[in-house]
């Protein structure tokens, strides 16, 4: 059911762990749905110089976290903000339709971490889409 890339990132997830005194922390999901994702970022000169994650969820949630953190590491905050769930899913060589919400969580979690950083710096947070909007946006491609 999963691509080899998903399996690889599930078996050997990149960037697992925490950053003590992280510059930004995002957490999304809830235990009711069976997914919680937490991402920690270190920001140096507007660039994500370190990133770590912890995820409770299924294989695709873990693989999506791993891939998303890989994709934004070394990027400016503006570049990282543009990471979409479809980009995460494509980098994983696809996710089963029922698991697309895992890639949505990864996108949201990066946004949450960036906005946490912005708030801590005294900046206005950037406008986030809701989970439902993102899922809707995605599901139009499928149905």
């Amino acid at each position: 059911m999963y691509s080899q890339t998903v399996m690889e990132h599930f078996t050997n997830p990149r960037n697992v762990g925490e950053i003590p005194d992280a510059d930004g922390v995002g957490q999304v999901g809830n235990p009711k749905c069976g997914d919680i994702m937490k991402i920690f970022i270190r920001v140096t000169d507007n660039v994500i110089t370190d990133i770590k994650f912890k995820t409770f969820g299924c294989a695709s949630a873990i693989a999506s976290s791993s891939m998303a953190t890989e994709l934004v590491l070394g990027k400016t905050l503006e570049e990282a903000w543009k990471l979409t769930n479809t980009a995460v899913a494509e980098a994983l060589d696809g996710l089963p339709p029922i698991k697309m919400h895992c890639s949505v969580l990864a996108e949201e979690c990066i946004h949450a971490a960036i906005n946490d950083y912005r708030r801590k710096q005294g900046f206005e947070p950037w406008a986030e889409k809701t989970h439902d909007e993102l899922v809707d946006e995605h599901s139009h491609h499928h149905h």
Partner: protein, 396 residues
């Protein structure tokens, strides 16, 4: 090292080679339609009769009370719908439980949409119904009580004889879905006062695609499959002769060593349960302990983990298991059984079912334990839910 440890016998068993051998002649040399009058079909008619006798002997009923179906699911559909449509003038209440297999549960929903008053009994933390609640639910309009013999997820065995007694006293038909129990634990439809019972061959080392509905003589049950006059005009469709032969041979074979095999497998299950409880911190056993559950069933909730993650780690080590987590089921809600026994979403998502069978060895159990202990430690380490859980414990 490619290990292959199958621990999902509640999902399905292999067809035992002896059973396959018994079935083979009915695909090739003896292929006649049992409904044809020529003597070429005699052997097939006799083979079906023999299977009927083999099934009847295990349930302690008459062969004429055994009706072959395509599956346990068909048997459940037939039982509920057959009684519903034949008794709707007497009453429209059907009592079942919250932990039934979807074959019963969804048939219940179907009938409820068509005006039946379907009541779903609660279960306690071990998964048992309350006889008091059942008694109170049994109004004059009650036409059927359907309570599963043993649960497919958590293995809990219901007080079947007591339920049978209550139904008999009140003249209500009692159906039990015994798909997980048949040939694995003793069943006596006379002593237990069971009027209808569903079972399926592929849960006791027979082939897939064949089941039984036992219907006590004199029980009014309308037909579900319409067509030819097979099964004494009660269930249309050309008989699955090889499948029926396989079901008969399999139920006889599996039931004949039920006690020894039950003890052997229960000892391995207890080794597994003890290993998980000793070696995995904060593990929870779901379902009833000891003799209150099927001898081959173990079901755990491991807080901080998501079931599919465990399945995938076990799978990578060659182990086949199952979970009640939403992620593996294709829906967003975790198992209705785990929710009915009162688990939180977190615990329901972190469930793991391991069901043992004839080929399970102590070596398998020890290998699974080693693999699981490693997986749980590693995945908990990366789980924010586990971190929150530990923080909650410290606070408390």
């Amino acid at each position: 090292m490619t290990k292959n440890v199958y621990l999902d016998f509640a999902a399905t068993t292999f067809t035992h080679p002896q059973i396959v051998e018994a079935m083979l002649p009915y695909f090739t040399e003896s292929f006649g339609n049992p409904s044809s009058i020529y003597s070429f079909s005699d052997r097939n008619r006799a083979a079906i009769q023999k299977a009927r006798e083999q099934a009847a002997a295990v349930l302690n009923c008459a062969p004429a009370e055994i009706f072959f179906t395509s599956s346990g699911t068909e048997a459940d559909n037939w039982a509920l719908q057959g009684v519903a449509w034949s008794h709707e003038n007497k009453g429209r209440r059907i009592i079942t439980t919250k932990i039934e297999h979807h074959a019963v549960l969804h048939t219940g929903h179907f009938l409820a949409e068509r005006g039946f008053d379907v009541v779903y009994l609660d279960v306690d933390a071990e998964g048992k119904i309350s006889l008091d609640q059942l008694k109170k639910a049994m109004t004059k309009e009650t036409i059927l009580v359907s309570v599963m013999f043993a649960n497919n997820e958590i293995g809990t065995i219901q007080p079947i004889a007591e339920i049978g007694e209550l139904c008999r006293e009140r003249g209500v038909i009692f159906h039990t879905d015994a798909v997980q129990a048949a040939a694995h634990v003793p069943i006596d439809v006379q002593a237990m006062k069971i009027d209808m019972l569903s079972m399926s061959a592929h849960k006791f080392y027979g082939p897939k695609g064949v089941g039984v509905l036992y219907i006590r003589k004199g029980t009014k049950v309308g037909n579900f499959m319409h067509g030819g006059a097979q099964e004494k005009g009660r269930r249309a469709s050309t008989e699955n002769v090889a499948g029926i032969v396989g079901l008969g041979a399999a139920i006889e074979r599996t039931a004949s060593h039920m006690n020894e095999e039950g003890k052997r497998v229960a000892a391995l299950r207890d080794r597994l349960i003890a290993g998980v409880m000793d070696r995995i911190p904060h593990a929870k056993l779901n379902g009833a302990p000891g003799a209150g559950r099927l001898p081959n069933n173990a079901n755990f909730s491991l807080i901080g983990l998501e079931g599919e993650t465990m399945l995938m780690d076990l799978n990578a080590a060659g182990i086949s298991a199952s979970t009640g987590s939403a992620c593996s089921s294709g829906s967003l809600d975790p198992s209705h059984v785990l929710m009915a026994i009162g688990l939180s979403h977190e615990l329901a998502h972190g469930s793991l079912r391991l069901t043992l069978g004839e080929t399970t060895t102590q070596e398998d159990i020890d290998y699974v334990l080693d693999t699981l202990v490693k997986s749980v430690a590693r995945r908990r380490e990366m789980s924010p839910l586990w971190e929150d859980y530990l923080a909650g414990l410290k606070k408390a």
